[in-house]
Amino acid sequence: MPLDANEPTIFELDHGGEGRDWFPAPEPEEEPINSILPTDCIAEQAPDIPNLSELETVRHFTRLSRKNFSVDSGFYPLGSCTMKYNPKVCEALSGLPGFANLHPLTDSQFAQGTLRLMDALSRSLAYLTGMEAVTLNPCAGAHGEFCGMLIARAYHKDCGNNRSVVLVPDSAHGTNPASAVMAGFKTVEVKSNAEGCVDLEDLKKKINEDTAALMLTNPNTLGLFEKEIEEIARLVHDAGALLYYDGANLNAIAGIAQPGDMGFDIIHLNLHKTFATPHGGGGPGSGPVGVNETLVPYLPTPVIEKRDGLYRLDYEKEKSVGQLSTFFGNVGIALRAYVYLRLHGLEGIRKNSETAVLNARYLKKEIESMIPAFLPADCMHEFVLTLKDKDRFGDLNAMVLAKNLLDHGFHAPTVYFPLIAKEALMIEPTESESKQTLDSFVEAIKEILEEYKTDPDRVRNAPHTTPVRRLDEVAAARQPDLVYTCPLCSV
């Protein structure tokens, strides 16, 4: 609808409004503000923010929202992102006033409700993954990785050797090496073998007494289970290093198998993936970190403890890696995950994993005859296609296919990741999607491939039906326009 056409920014909508009286006017006898506060601290004018009417505001953001694709509006098979259904009840309950209005520095005796739930959630996550203890403090997956790497660092230091290298498979998510570096490590890449898994020979070559940890995603970012995990764990532990689990892909195996069992020493989870907290257009998430028994003392502060029947927060942990966030991370997100886990129990979580894998396996099977998978092995909850065969696909590359899917009413899969797959399309259907939806997605791919034969130009130039067409990102990066400047003001 033209309703959804170009929407001006709030700065362009600004027509010089004088603003609303949000608060009762100060009593006439009240002193002027600059006799209360030092004049030299006060700005002469209020900040340059438009004063729109409430309807102008509501309409603006309502219209913007309609330009978004979302899980609530359609299939969002974005690989590695687990775009599953975010239950509304989790939203509603985490927002109850008793939770929402609680100040983080409230004496813990008056915050027992939230503290108990946080404790219960971290225990359940520990049981589910087979770890000894879990902290909810990290705000996202990468924050969890950072936390985990700090723990690895502290542990090795404690053991008297400042190991400086973290091994990261070439298929790993970009946050893995970045987090290791944030924690002061150097990273060394471990190759994947022809089957898409860690190349054991390469690992053996690269692991040594300077290796602090190996970061592993399992199933890995190709959607494949690292079958040699026992051998990998043995190699890592024999070298005196720690095995780190990137839990972004836990949705394939939650309740089915435990990272703790496989030999992982440190893990992080993405509550905004496996535990269905919404992605929020990019965040907030929550990245709890679990550790084995040895590493418990290194967990970040504060730590929730129960004493004399009361939960409290302990900031004084001698060996802790310290504090990671202003307070205790994204508590509101943890509450959502708590509700989700309570609704599911073990059976529900297992069924999620099974269905997530079944959906991926089925979808892969249905698509494979049209577009080859990057690797033939049975996938877990996601899989990677490759359009690298130019003879077959011409210039219908991963990006082109992605943009055409938008025109068919689907969000695009993840493209060009993992980096080891050329022209990669990474598809994760999640357990929330019906067979009907998967089938219609297959149908859309078929139609696009057909259309490419009859009208390649239209296909190349997709999308055609989105609020904007393809954007010139190169020009945007060359001359970044990051903040609105009034065209008249700049002359």
């Binding site: 030092p38 700005a43 006033p97 069992d261 965040g283 202003t326 508590v331």
Partner: protein, 445 residues
């Protein structure tokens, strides 16, 4: 409860399609030793039951309905109900990071508007799409300063929120960056000590305005000192105050961090909040986190896209400016809606009202025998008082009367005996101010 759409028949058909009979066969590649672990988590409940459980738990948070004078980095500000009505549209909150620009124009434009609002508020030329929270944003700002200046020493005022300093320490220690705290004298940064400590190796000095004690720092003098060195001047701000105060840009900051919580976010026992990171244009290529930019589409129409992504982990991996990926986007959206609703007038009057209420409270309290300001300096909406009785005694008494009377601050922080950090906002009710002072004066006797 399960949210799975398949009928038993469909599951069977899909299994057959992939050549299986039984869901358990899906996991054949997992070594069988790992399969079927015993896991003891609570058995599932229905929505009806969890509603009851959560409502009861929420009631167990007595603090959520007490009259609160707590600040110290999180504030009970007024939030128009419209903020929640808009950000709770599934179209916003069930979307991912806007990597597919054409399908994410709503999120992208909102980020662009957010960046603009924050750069205007802070007086910087650019702002990113959010960090995790105020403390980690400060830490990332420090790391950014080190990259910009290619140096590895950071100074921070001891009058910056102690929680923030703890996080800063965690981040800097990891990269072996030296962190030196500049002490405060009587509630403001010790200028002499700053002047002495800052040197050619210093990447930046960070200060809060107002500081942790609610007090105004002598930012002009600080800026002068820092400008005489090669170091950057970094700020950690309470953005609510920027409705009224000079922006960090005005007093010379190069990088600004802070927490969005005071701009439209609920207290939520500490999170989700979001971190602010804004800086001068010339530093943006060292900035961590996501940035949206305006661009033209194929037909020449304006649109928005993520930009300068080569700074980020998904492109640059180990060499990225930060490991951050998921940020606090929905919180940034909430602040964008909040700021648009309040407008410049609303923001300014909110900040004025906070200050007025805090000063009214201070006036009441300081009339009580033995109660006095720990630091006799101009403050914004928080102040530190000393009591003639043990702090905890007063806190206990007040909580019996349904009041959270403040945040205890150790003698180590105040440089003297234990004291209380007391806060008022635009929501603070005159009646409650009266009750507070009345109860306290009765108790002191």
């Amino acid at each position: 409860m399960d949210y799975i759409p398949h009928t038993a028949d469909e599951t069977q058909r899909m299994l057959s399609a992939v050549g299986l009979n039984n869901p358990s066969e899906l996991f054949h590649m997992i070594p069988s030793a790992f399969l079927d672990p015993e896991i003891e988590i609570p058995t599932p409940v229905t929505e009806m039951e969890i509603v009851e459980e959560m409502e009861k738990a929420a009631q167990k948070n007595e603090g959520g309905s007490m009259v609160s004078f707590l600040g110290g980095g999180a504030y009970d500000h007024f939030v128009p109900r419209t903020v929640n009505a808009l950000i709770s549209r599934g179209d916003f909150y069930t979307a991912y990071t806007p990597y597919q620009a054409e399908a994410s124009q709503g999120t992208l434009q909102a980020i662009y508007e957010f960046q603009t609002l924050l750069s205007r508020l802070t007086g910087m030329e650019a702002a990113n799409a959010s960090m995790y929270d105020g403390a980690s944003a400060l830490a990332e700002a420090a790391l950014m300063a080190c990259r910009v200046r290619r140096k590895s020493k950071i100074l921070v005022s001891a009058a910056v929120n102690p929680q923030y300093r703890r996080v800063l320490r965690t981040y800097l220690e990891a990269q072996a960056i030296e962190l030196i705290e500049i002490p405060h004298t009587e509630g403001i940064t010790d200028l002499g000590s700053l002047k002495e400590t800052i040197d050619a190796d210093t990447a930046a000095f960070f200060v809060s305005q107002p500081n942790y004690f609610g007090i105004f720092e002598p930012v002009d003098s600080i800026a002068e000192i820092v400008n005489h060195s090669d170091a950057l001047l970094g700020a950690s701000v309470y953005p609510h105050s920027l409705g009224l105060l000079k922006s960090p840009g005005e007093w010379g900051a190069d990088i600004v961090s802070g927490d969005l919580q005071s701009l439209g976010l609920a207290l939520n026992y500490g999170g989700p909040y979001a971190g602010i990171l804004a800086a001068k244009q010339k530093y943006i290529r060292q900035m961590p986190g996501r940035l949206a930019g305006r661009a033209k589409d194929r037909d020449g129409n304006p649109g928005f896209t993520l930009t300068l992504q080569t700074r980020e982990q998904h492109i640059r991996r180990a060499k990225a400016t930060s490991n951050i990926c998921t940020n606090q986007a929905l919180c940034a959206l909430a602040s964008t809606v909040y700021l648009t609703l309040m407008g410049s007038k609303g923001l300014r009057s909110a900040a004025e009202r906070s200050a007025r209420n805090a000063h009214a409270l201070k006036d009441h309290l300081c009339k009580i025998n033995g109660v006095r300001l720990r630091f006799d300096r101009p403050f914004f909406n928080e102040f530190v008082i000393e009591l003639p009785i043990p702090i905890q005694q007063w806190l206990d008494k007040a909580s019996e009367e349904n009041i959270l009377a403040g945040i205890p601050i150790s003698g180590a922080e105040t440089g003297s005996k234990e004291a209380l950090l007391v806060c008022a906002t635009e929501k603070t009710n005159p009646v409650d101010i009266d009750r507070y002072s009345h109860l306290l004066s009765k108790m002191i006797g």
